[in-house]
Symmetry: C2
Amino acid sequence: MRVAVIGAGSWGTAVASLVSRNAPTVLWARSAEVAQEIAEEHQNRRYLAGFELPRTLGATADLERAVRGADVLVIGVPSHGFRDTVAQLAPYVRPWIPVVSLTKGLEQGSMLRMTQILGELLPGHPAGVLTGPNLAKEIMSGQAAASVIGMEDLVVAEALQRVFASGLFRVYTNHDVVGCEVGGALKNVIAIATGMAEALSVGDNTRAMVMTRGLAELTRLGLALGGELATFAGLAGLGDLLATCISPHSRNRHVGEQLGRGKTLDEVIAAMRMVAEGVKTTAVVDELARKHGVEMPIAEEMYAVLYRGRSAAEAYRGLRRRKTGHERDSG
Amino acid sequence: MRVAVIGAGSWGTAVASLVSRNAPTVLWARSAEVAQEIAEEHQNRRYLAGFELPRTLGATADLERAVRGADVLVIGVPSHGFRDTVAQLAPYVRPWIPVVSLTKGLEQGSMLRMTQILGELLPGHPAGVLTGPNLAKEIMSGQAAASVIGMEDLVVAEALQRVFASGLFRVYTNHDVVGCEVGGALKNVIAIATGMAEALSVGDNTRAMVMTRGLAELTRLGLALGGELATFAGLAGLGDLLATCISPHSRNRHVGEQLGRGKTLDEVIAAMRMVAEGVKTTAVVDELARKHGVEMPIAEEMYAVLYRGRSAAEAYRGLRRRKTGHERDSG
């Protein structure tokens, strides 16, 4: 079983490193220099500086070469490049093989999930997502983590479980692809909000409240999109939300922190070399919430901060002005 | 509407301070010195050192005096003293008045929730619980927080909402008393586990995994006891779990950290002046899980560490050895 991982960002590289212990694996990098560095020096200095990659992990910048021999295709490029990359590699994909997305975002404009894009461009291939509370650097350091493969066909999911899992990387399965993808994408919006909370020093009670009510609104939209309740309470929803919100290494939390300190979005983005999916996801979520008539007070305030010039402090005041009723209501 | 708060620990004192802004409030302290300090110096140095209490907050060590005039009775004593205290004050309680527990624990031996004890000793009184992610010191510092009143009778709950709520202290209602109480008690077991994770430096992925799978097993037992799913995902379940697990001020997390550093339970308890409910709750939960046939791998490991001499590192290794299947299963 040969595996190709497309995209040599920090998470793509970490997943490729994990998988290379179980199966022959090649990692595709957009840049020839990065591919060479991975293949020859067993390093990816740009995204995972300081970590030695497995010597068995191959790398190439040639998309056809990466994809043509693969029995499992794993896509780990940012959401804004997902469609183009998949369109480019589609001609080389062997029939029937499963395709797994690592990307936690939604497509701007179309509002599609990544497996929906896979369904359009690679019809007939079992499409799934690997998601959960997975900070790349911790996994590279050999710390334990759990993940979930979201895939409708559980027989394929169980076969993939064996491709991805290792002693310290626990992989569960879940048939609810929609829930798994929506959870991974939407938690980034809440991570931005907790980053702001951090910068505003509002305390652990408030941070816990934002995460809890954030999960509640993420779940409301997720259910409207066809996800299942249990998924949002699991690794792909709550688990990922927690890791992202409590870790100082989270990029989306970092964006919130910087905005909370009074920086503008342009300044924050200009200073980052990696993509914070949550910024774009917030815009898509705002549109989805209106389309489905779902109240999402936290996402609404984040949208106002990111795109309408509201300050972080005003956003928190806005949240506090809402009425409190029964917990199941949306206040 | 006059309110009596029974128990001048940190949370009882904080709640009495909040309520005293909305209604005439008297706080009962077991010790006459503490009562005098609160009434005359507006301080509670033992449990809330450095905070000035409202000048309108009365205090007494005379149980009859505290209780006899109260239209709302609030009980904030630790679970091991709950039954005795309620039995002592029962003769003085005015008819019909609602009684609200602040205590997040289960009675050892009987395995009862605090409102069940209220039902036995004060039958006919609407019994409820105020619970949620509420760190006393943050609330005393004027930081925002949210809480929930769990009470079957929502008309009474809404009246109590007005007694407890203030600008920065948001109070929701929930009819699911069982879920609210079980969530508050069981999260302390998971907090001990995350404290150990902290001491073992296992990383944010693992901490997120422990909280997520911890919430899953807490929910399984809570459902078996008659609680509702939505409650465990809300402020009384997830919310409280989060605040307790992320705050360095949590006593139960502190117990886990000390155990993780190799101290014995006796050493840890001897060094603490406050009660960590989770230690006793873990023993009750172990019994309840067996009685109801619910798998609770984390609670089981915590029981082994607290009562059977297993080391924290062994407990984490034990958790990693479990099989991974579909996420909805108990592994």
